[in-house]
Amino acid sequence: MVTILPLDVRGATVRRRGRTIVGPVDLTLDGTGVTIVMGPNGAGKTTLLRMLHGLVRQRGGSIDWARPLAEAQAAQAFVFQTPVVLRRSVRDNIAFPLMLGGLARTQARERAEFWADRVGLAGALKQQAMDLSGGEKQKLALARALIREPQLLFLDEPTANLDGRSMREIEGILAQAQADGTRIVMATHNIGQARRMASDVIFLYRGRVHERNQASAFFAGPETGEAAAFIKGDIVE
């Protein structure tokens, strides 16, 4: 049950070195589906997700959750483009959020084993996480994000550096997470992936929400030239 949504964003802006890199953004996000954030490199996808998750502070405007901020943040997880790997075993990496939350080690590890199994890492529990392949590291990051059973999961191009097989496996895990009730917001510039996963699309262009629509409508008839060119695979700057 997603209770921290709807999220209501009004005029939120992120500035760096005197330059507006994202915003002003107006956006609402409600309780179901997979939102895909698309747009060319440098459009501001990463910054937008980090702003929504509270990793970068916005300047001006407002970001309002249906619940108090602390509760809203505790119910979210974030998977980064380059997975963050703790210098620990696979099991202890996955158990980490529960350990921070004060759960006893044995129980946290038990849950970690369950999630390792879910993402296909059951055979690597005691291995050092640093020794995993790129795809395995990202699956570890996914298991670690899902172990707190977040209501809302942000993913920043989680498959950008991975081969086709890892990509398929990760999409499978995400489909399962969604079926379990997790709301997903994911940045990608892989159009095939967007078509497979999206229920709705945010098209970012030069830091602004250029277009926002249901996936079917967006892919059938984008409203802006930039989105149309992007879907066609043309170069959009």
Binding site: L55, V84, Q128
Partner: protein
């Protein structure tokens, strides 16, 4: 040549038979150095870690100062500690000059910047890796610090070993503040200096063997550590 050979043989026997003087001096060396390193770690590791994750106004200046202190000539440290502890100095009333405590104080001043600097580097590297995750998971300041210290534990132990290596071989400062007094403040390095100047090469060499042995043990330990670091066995 003959003299050196005889000296080596005599030194060997001193070590093998656990000559009481040799043992006493070795134990005092270990006692002073281990105390100094323990205190230096207790100060330097939290300081280094704190500098790595806390942003404040004069952070860069403090780090620069730390690096400068690493290059402090031990003899000068000895001189300053001597002046502070001497009868006329501000801490003269404590009556610490020419005691092992004075030597420990000097060693702490020499070793702490080294330990802090190595710890700082290790924790900073880890922090830049872990930063996003720890913030995303809403880890408290205390949890961030614990996570970084636990995961940097091997690098921190290396820092302690580097500190030990520096302290055990140091002679200038402890000679000045300890006075190299027999049965009170004589340690391996100061004893070697003294015995050599007296022409007592057997004892000097024997002490030298022990010192080299300790140094080699430390470098072996570091080496073994960096191997388990790569393999991540603990």
């Amino acid at each position: 040549m003959g003299e050196i050979w005889q000296g080596l043989q005599a030194a060997f026997w001193l070590v093998v038979t656990l000559d009481p003087d040799l043992v006493e001096i070795t134990l005092r060396s270990l006692q002073v150095t281990l105390c100094a390193v323990a205190i230096a770690c207790a100060i330097g590791m939290p300081l280094g870690s704190w500098l790595a994750i806390q942003r404040f106004r004069y952070r860069r200046a403090v780090i620069a100062l730390l690096n400068a202190l690493m290059g402090l000539p031990p003899v000068v440290v000895g001189l300053v500690v001597y002046l502070l502890l001497s009868r006329a100095g501000p801490f003269g009333a404590l009556n610490l000059l020419f005691s092992p405590t004075a030597m420990i104080i000097a060693q702490v001043i020499i070793v702490t910047p080294l330990v802090a600097s190595i710890s700082h580097q290790a924790v900073r590297e880890l922090w830049s890796d872990y930063h996003d995750l720890l913030i995303s998971l809403n880890a408290s300041k205390r949890q961030r610090m614990t996570t970084l210290l636990v995961d940097a534990r091997r690098a921190l132990l290396m820092a302690a070993l580097a500190g030990f290596g520096r302290a055990i071989g140091e002679v200038g400062a402890i000679m000045i503040v300890g006075g190299n007094i027999d049965h009170v403040s004589r340690v391996l390095t100061t004893a070697i200096a003294l015995e050599t100047s007296k022409g007592n090469f057997a004892l000097a060499l024997g002490l030298g063997f022990v010192l080299i042995g300790l140094a080699i043990a430390v470098s072996f330990a570091s080496h073994a550590l960096s191997r388990t670091e790569r393999e991540g066995r603990w």
